[in-house]
Structures are given as C-alpha cells and as structure tokens.
Subunit: 535 residues, 2 copies
C-alpha cells in the first residue's frame, strides 16, 4: 500500500480561467481572424486586481478551527479564497472576469483526514458556519456557491480537501482501491499505476477534478462505454456528517435494504463530506487504439451506437459528433462553419479500444464488423489520435474565445433512445431561438447505455455587451426544453444551484421531500453546502 | 402494446408448502430410506385445519375500502387470508405446519391499478390500518409480517397486487418495458415473448415471485452474470406513497442528485407500493447452452470465477458448488454424503451461454479457453442440462424433507473476493456448531462481480422435537458470523424482519437514521409494512 499525503499546496487555477496559466496560449492571430469572420469579436480582458470582501467569521470561530486542523491550515489569504470562489462554468468565469468575487468563501480550512473533517463539521454546526467541500474547483453547475442570505449562518468555510490525497488501501484480489477525496484524476491514476492498476475515469476535467468530486456529482468519463460511470465504479463510501459517520459497502451488491451508497453519490456536499471512496480498479491496458468512423448522418451514427449498446458490444470509448460539431472538428481555417474537409457533411465517430492485445483484437474485430454492416466507414487512426491528443483541451479554448468576446458554454442531458431526436431538436431550437442569429450549436453523444444516451451541447454565440445576460436566458430555455422532453436535467454535471429550479420537475415533489428529510436527518443545522441541490 | 389484466384469482400456494400442490410428490421410498441413513426421520404432517383469528377491522373500515376497489375485491375469506400469511422461509412453513396462523392479515384488498393503490394507502393512513404489499408470497426473510403490537394500528391489510398484471408499455427502440408489480416471472416473460423479448430474471422463486417483489427486495436471478441483478435492470419506477406518488427514471443514468430509484429498490414496502417498474429488455436468446466444469477444489473454482469477472468475460450463467454440494448433486443413492460418482471430491461449476449463435460461439470459445487455462475440466452438457431441468425445484424437495422431520433451510450473503474464504469458514462453522452432529452444510457461489461474489448456503439437520427452536439459534449464529466477517447480511433475499437485528451493524446508526427519516417523510402515519426493514 502506498500512502501519499502531500502537505504542499497544489497549483491553483486562477478565478478567471481554466487550468495551468502556462498552457493558456490565447488564439493565434490566424484563428482569431477566422473567428472574427463568424462572430463580432473584441478584446475582453479579465480583471484580476479585485479585492475580496472582508471575511465575516469572528475571531473566536477561527480559534476553534485552528485547534482542529492546526494554525497553518486555517487560511484567510486572498489568493486561496479567490481560487475557491465558485467553479468553472462560463457564468462563473464571466462573473469573475468582470471582477465579481462576491461569493468568495470567508475562510479556507484544510483538514488532514476523516477525523478532522468530522470535527470541523461538528464545530461548524455549533458555530453556524456554512461548509462547502472543495476538491478541484471544476464545478460547472454552481455547486460551490453557498446560499447564506436569509439564514443565520455566520459565514462560509471552504473545506479544502487538498491534504487528503492518499491511496488508503489496495486490495489486489478484489480489485478495489480506497482513495481519499482530494486526489486529482492524474494523481489517483499515478498512485494506482505503481501497482499496474488504473481507475479509468477520464472526464474532460480529469486534470483538476478530484475523486470526492467525481463521487459527489456522479461524474462520467470519456471511457464510460468500457469502464462505466464513476458511480458504477464505487463499491464503498465513508462519509462524515454533522451527526456521525456513514460507512457503506458491505459487498459489491446486496439486498440489505435501499442502497444508501446511491444516496450519498450525487449528494453534492449537501448530505456530508465524502472522506473515502472505494472503487473497482483494473489492470493498466497494454494497448490503446483510437480510430475514426464516418456516418452519413447523426441519426445513422446514433443508431449504430444503439445497436452496439443493445448487443452488449461496446468498445472502451465511443463518441459521435453531430454534423455541426463534425464540421468544426474537421475544419481547416478556410472551412470553419462550412463543409468538412472532404466535402461531405456527415458525422464523425471516435471509437477506442483499451486492454490486452487479445481482448482489443477480439473486440475490435467484432465492433468493426458491426459498424461496417451498419453503414459506417472506417477512417483509420488519424481522427482517433487527434481526439486523444486534445481530449482535455477544450476549456483552454473557451478561455481564449471569452478573451475575444465570444460566448461559449456547454450543457448536457440524457434520455432514452426513442426520445433522442425529440430532445436534440428541442434543446437545439431553444438555444438558437434564445441566442439568435450567428449562434452555433454543436452536439455529441459520448455516453451510451442499452436503453439510452447522453447529449452534450456546445454553444458559441456573440457575447455582446453583457455575455452573462445573453447566456442565462438561453440556459433557462434549454433547461425548460429538457424538462419538456422528459429528459434528465443533467447526465454528469450535477444539480448545483444552476439546475435546482428544474429538479422538482424531474423527481417530483415527493422526491424532493425525501431529499429534504434526509438533509434534516444528517444536517439538522443546515450547514452543508446550503442552497445547493435541494429545491 | 399488450395489456393483460386477468381478473381471476391466481392459483394459491397453501400456507404449509411451496408451489403447486400437484407437483408435491413426496420423497420416493428409496430416497426416504436413504435420507433416513443420514438423519433421524419421522413423519411430521402439516396441520391444515386451522381456523383463523377473527378479522380485527371495523365494519366501517371495510365500507371505505369497498368504495375504493369494489365489493368483490375486499376479501375476508379464510382461504385467501391463509395464502397471504407470512412467506415461504422454513420458519414460516414450520409455524404454519404446526397450525400457527397468528400472523394472518385481517383483510385482503385487491386494487386494480396505481390510483386504487394510492387511494387505499390514503384511506389506510386515515383509518390507521397497516398495509402489507403482497405479490407472489415467496418472501423468505419475514417481509410479510406486519408488527402491530405496541402500535395503535387497527389491523393488517394484505394489499394483493394480483390484479395488476399488465404490460403497460413497450419501447422497442429503447429496449424497455413497463410492467405492473403483480406479474409473476413466467407471466412477464410470456408477455414479452410475444414481442420476441425477454427480461432474463430467473431466481429460484421465478414461478411464483412477482415483478414488484423483485424490485422491492433487490432480487437476483440465476442468469445474473449475463443479465444482471434485478435492480440493475430497472430504469424507472412509479411508487404510490401515503403522501403522494413518486415517478423516477428520466434517463438510463443521470447526475440529477442522489439516485432515488435505489432508495425505493429494496424498500420492501416500507416506503411505498411499487406500482410500475420499467426495465431493460433483451431479444429472446436463439441459443441456450449449459455445461458442466470440474475443479479440484472450491477455491480453484472460485478463483476461476474471479478471473472471468475481472476480465469482463462472464457467461450468462455461472455457479459453483462447494465439495459438499457437489457430492450431493452428483450422488447416486449409494453415495449420499460420500464421494462423488467419479471418486474425486472436487467441485462442479455450471456455465451457461445464451444469445445469438455467433455471440454464444464467441463467448464460449473465450470462456472455454480461459477456464481450461485456469485448470478446469469440461464435463460436457450433461450436468448443465440436469441443472437447467431442476433449477426451480429445490423448494419442493424442502417440503418433502420437512415432511419426514428433516430441517432444511438456506441463507445467503456476499462479500469481496479477498474475504470469501473467511466468510465461508465463519458461516459454515457457526452453522455446524449451532446445529451439532449430523448437520450437512452445502454452499454455492451463484452471483459474481469483478470485486466479489455471493455465498449461498443450504443446511440440512435433524429437526428434532422442535425444528423451529433448533433453527432459530443457528440462523442467529450464521447472521452474527456474517456481521463479524464484515459481509452483507443478504445478497438477494432482503432484510424483512429476520435480518433487521443485523442491519445497524451493516449500515451504521446514521444509515439507519436516514432510513427512518425517509420513512417518516413518505409514511408519516407508519402504516407501510410496519416492523419490516427498519430497526
């Protein structure tokens, strides 16, 4: 067993941008000119000289916190508070770029392990301080914004899990690993790789997002076809709540009543702080092969995905871009917004295989035969390698586009196969009608099941004078379209505060009452991420 | 869409036996003599002349119920009440064989659909009548015994779902079907087979157990390796509660907060009555092939199962008997309790493949290569066909053994692979020590996961003067051994009343508080299956 508990602070993401500032390249001049052909562009630099509000906590609140985690782990420093303000949705970035850091936490507290988390929660409940668990800060649905207005809460504590980054246990016989919540994706994979193992969870936020966040938001990664959603990888959880701990996971599956793991998965910090996650692990793949396939239409490609999923014949990665997204991905500079580089519109699918050489060869042969029979055209490894190379880069491009005043955001949903076309048309129309002329709506399917799939939309539109005011009605229109289509308000980005108005439509008033009852039971003081998740 | 709502009553199981009385053959003389070599036997006929307690409900309670479901569906008849008394565990049968029908419900109410269920629940909450949902009556952990002592509940209403037996919707594109809860296994499969589809859920109780019961107890079937546990087949639920309905399942999977489907699955009637279940369906298999494999030991066979599961290379059916169970299964009359018919103890595994000819051939080739490399010996189709022929017959044999005074019961648990041997040894020792000399403990693994497996024990022992008094301490000892091993108190038989004392050890006091909070929210009057599930 390897234990790795770094005590140094991790590199911070700035409040106005994604990721490593050294990788933020800006738009090259040629691309900038091209974007300017489609959108009205103008430089919109981010403000980074903002002074934070004065922390609201009383001095004796801090004394108690310091006694629990140690003086140096109760931090009032502006830089740390800035880095824990909201998440990385476009609205978050737009607010922060405009200098609005009003949601900054009052204090950052960095516990060393489960017991310190539990003690902080008990203390916060006593002192009436809101607690917002913080992992990688990659939230995109407002899950890091505590609502304290109208409450008697004294302030907001960002519970930074960055010191909880250990591999606590490894069971190679059962193929399970117990991970601490503050481990970022690459850190968890590196610890497991020392044992020849991997988790296999690669969402776009992989480089910064954390194990605890994956669990708390029901994340799903780009290899979900082969390795499953994060919630499906989880076999055990340890959760600290203000009223006591919860340990779950007596077996891979059981009939010991309701599966309470599934109640804490997706609970977004509102029911407790996840302090340990036991997951299924796998041998590191010996082979990784990614390739492109071409389909005459989005519908044709989606039907092929459905056929594979319903035949239990899924590769490790499968994703399909609609005509618009395909055109953008394939575009050379002259072709942005126009036809693909081979003159055919069509749709591109990326198919990836990982595993032993024998398993990859067998799966690839079967999938290739099936896709060919269904009308797909193999494009070889070029498109696959290009996708794999850039798979975590999109958030950097968004920053560069926001820099030139182009509004870019994503949203996602899921439904059953028979409702896919209806959902796609409704959401696309809602976005186009709300945002008006010049809007570009792209879509892909990246998570498939025997009974349905996700739809992931990327929107680009002229930002105008106030891009936030432009976007919020469009997001509302898209959300209402999703609800009207009877689909999920989110497939893998959680509820947060952004989707909260739509949750009642999805789970009903009795469902919401159940969530409220659980909340009252585990958090009677109402300190846990107040305002998030529960309408 | 096919709608099938039979209004006639289904054939009843007698309170003292399993299944169809016409199939209860008794022990042939030769077998009876053989059993007598191992156990002291004596005839212990079941009493079936018992008069039921007088129904406790007031006349005006019945008036209201009749107004909801119609006069003919509010039944006070002794035969119907007898058939809805407890379930089919050995303790249930022993009590009933001795003439104890004290737990008989006061009235049987048969609603026609969701709205009538909802109305009955609202009425029962108002009139303080306990409601026990009743499907196939196959419960084996005391889930059909309402606890009204010490409450102000006026009586017990058996909510018989036998009129709710429709296929409400079929979505062939999404491969989903919406089923009513009263459909028995064969009825659901017959309705789906009209469309070339199947569910693929075949627990030993298949012939009598119902869709609602599968969901409410987290059932798992004999083809779980290929088709999954029942809870994994469910994509949508409709539940009637005394405070309103809950509809869940916006998509195959979502991130819209906690997955409340997993809170109602396994809720055993304590949180509401499941009135619709939407499940994944599959094409009927064109080919079914079952075969035997021989392993030198239980450990060798289990390691092979682990290897297949961790390689994502599972057949449709895989089950492994330990040395004792293998010996019994293979025994010719002279060999009961001795060595197998080929002189080697060893262990038998049944491996089954279902699907298209091509898929079966491919899977079979890969599994055969893997099992051979792992040291297994193929035995051909004989053992596989024998298993398939008798797969639902064990409960009939139990009745015949109870008739000659032999105590027979089963229990099951699950754990992670690394804990399998520890769990097996602890439970077996606990049973042998409690039941004493002459006890036979058999075990098989019939549900496997990448991270662990189930263990299913069958126990036979001399019944003695009071077989119930003999069994209850043994069950307690086995349950304590399971808890001490950190395993699941049940893998697929639910909590009921029998496992309730052990649930706190498994999910913790905070976990239990969460269940209580949900219960209070959806059933403030405490009428739903009182005393079941929640400690």
């Amino acid at each position: 067993m390897t234990i790795d508990r770094p005590s140094v602070l991790q590199p911070e993401m700035p409040p106005t941008r994604w990721g490593d500032p050294a990788r933020a390249a800006g738009l090259p001049e040629g691309v900038r000119d091209l974007v300017g052909l489609v959108f009205p562009i103008r430089d919109t630099p981010a403000r980074d000289d903002v002074t934070l509000p004065v922390p609201r906590l009383a001095a004796d609140d801090l004394v108690g916190l310091r006694a629990i985690v140690g003086d140096e782990h109760v931090v009032l420093d502006d830089a740390l508070r800035r880095g824990r303000t909201r998440g990385k949705s476009t609205p978050d970035l737009l607010r922060q770029r405009s200098g609005d850091l009003a949601d900054a936490p009052d204090v950052v507290v960095r516990p060393a392990g489960h017991d310190e988390v539990a003690a902080v929660l008990a203390y916060a409940a006593e002192r009436r301080i809101a607690v917002v668990p913080f992992g990688g800060g990659t939230a995109v649905t407002g899950g890091l914004v505590a609502e304290t207005e109208g409450t008697d809460l004294a302030g907001v504590l960002s519970l930074d899990l960055g010191r909880m980054r250990g591999l606590l246990a490894l069971d190679p016989v059962s193929s399970t690993a117990t991970l601490e919540p503050g481990l970022r994706g690459p850190e968890a994979e590196a610890l497991l790789a020392e044992h020849g193992l991997m988790l296999g969870h690669f969402p776009q936020s992989f480089e910064y997002a954390t194990i605890g966040g994956f669990a708390a938001t029901r994340s799903s990664g780009q290899s979900s076809a082969g390795y499953g959603r994060f919630d499906a990888m989880v076999v055990g959880l340890r959760v600290a709540t203000p009223v006591g701990e919860v340990r779950l996971g007596s077996a891979p599956a059981n009939a010991s009543g309701p599966d309470l793991r599934e109640l804490f998965l997706g609970s977004e910090g509102a029911f407790g702080v996840i302090t340990e996650v036991t997951v299924r692990v796998r041998p590191l793949p010996e082979v990784k092969e990614y390739e492109g396939w071409r389909w005459a239409s989005f519908a044709d490609g989606a039907e092929a995905m459905r056929s594979l999923a319903q035949s239990d014949l899924l590769p490790t990665v499968i994703r399909l871009s609609d005509e618009n997204e395909t055109a953008i991905n394939l575009a050379d500079p002259e072709a942005i917004g126009g036809e693909g580089d081979d003159g055919a519109r069509g749709c591109q699918m990326i198919v990836g295989y990982e595993g032993t050489p024998a398993a990859v060869a067998a799966k690839r042969a079967a999938v290739t035969a099936a896709l060919t029979a269904l009308g797909g055209t193999a494009q070889g490894s070029g498109p696959g390698e290009a996708w794999a190379h850039g798979r975590f880069d999109a958030p950097y491009l968004r920053d560069s586009l926001l820099d030139v005043g182009v509004l870019v955001e994503t949203l996602e949903t899921a439904t059953f196969w028979s409702n896919r076309e209806n959902l796609y048309a409704r959401v696309r129309t809602a976005l186009e009608e709300s945002l008006g002329a010049g809007t570009m709506v792209l879509c892909h399917i990246s998570h498939v099941y025997p009974t349905g799939c996700s739809l992931y939309f990327t929107v680009a539109a002229p930002g105008g004078e106030d891009p936030l005011a432009t976007w919020l009605p469009a997001k509302a229109a898209a959300s209402e379209a999703i609800v009207a289509a009877g689909a999920a308000i989110t497939h893998h980005h959680a509820v947060g505060t952004d989707h909260k108005p739509y949750l009642t439509a999805e789970i009903g008033t009795t469902g919401v009452e159940v969530l409220r009852a659980v909340k009252r039971a585990v958090d009677p003081a109402g300190i846990l991420n107040p305002g998030v998740l529960i309408p």
